[in-house]
Symmetry: D2
Subunit: 93 residues, 4 copies
């Protein structure tokens, strides 16, 4: 089981909202809305997605890393390595 | 009318796919998928969104800026200013 | 000659300041400053660099694209393509 | 003392290289190099800086967070909160 169970509803609600925002983007394109306004909205959806990502990183460090570190240094190290690799990917998406 | 009408179907298809990916993220959270895998998927959706954004910037320069510049230097300048402000916002989302 | 000659001094001054900030980062590491404070400073230098980048994109659209478009549609298109490719790279650094 | 002492020389070498790259950017502007080439170089310096940032996040989790968590849950939580806040800032620079 993953470590983010506690705030699962919170993630679900945020992703539901992001899904609605993406549908809103489709309507904007469909209605020939001004491209700069669509861009502004894309920026806002990207920010919301990355904010979910930061939440997951927080959970990962808080649960997966700590639990693994309690088992052994090697397991803790492996989880930390995974976390920083994921952060690096998110920074360069 | 906005300048991206020509490839409207292409944008619609890409946003439809992004909407599906966001629903996929909801299922991943719901199924307690490993947080690092969810993060990787968030990176991929963010990239897809920013790619739509880059497409819109391209259209904006290609159509709105060129059309405005053909009318007057002032109008061209205003559209370029709008474009770079949008790029700056996208870089810092 | 590149299109940014007018504000060359401005770019020079901003890059000089960024160079000083990077030297400041070296001193922070050397003095064992707290890693979160170093990270905050890295964020600030990155922002300053990207701001120079946005300025260059603005110049490119304002000069290179417009000049090329005045010569022919093909040359204008090529410069716009170059610009959006550069923006895409900057978004994913 | 901060936790990154072990690889201090590595950070020093990377920042020294970044400083050289920023000086290279100044020469490019000074020599009227093509703006797209300057932009490509800015992307490369930004990437190098963010890579130093990711290294610091790794050290922070590996040392500061683990040490604090060994003292008390509250101190561990505070360090994790600091880390994720720094990651969020880095994502939005």
């Amino acid at each position: 089981m993953a470590g983010y169970s506690i705030s699962k509803d919170d993630y679900a609600a945020r992703l539901k909202k992001i899904e609605g925002q993406v549908r809103g983007l489709q309507r904007m394109i469909d209605d020939d809305k001004y491209c700069i306004d669509v861009l502004t909205q894309i920026g806002s959806v990207t920010k919301a997605l990355q904010s979910v990502g930061v939440g997951l990183i927080d959970e990962h460090i808080r649960h997966c890393v700590q639990d693994a570190a309690a088992r052994s240094d090697e397991e803790g190290d492996a989880k930390i390595h995974e976390a920083t690799a994921a952060i690096a990917r998110l920074l360069r998406t």
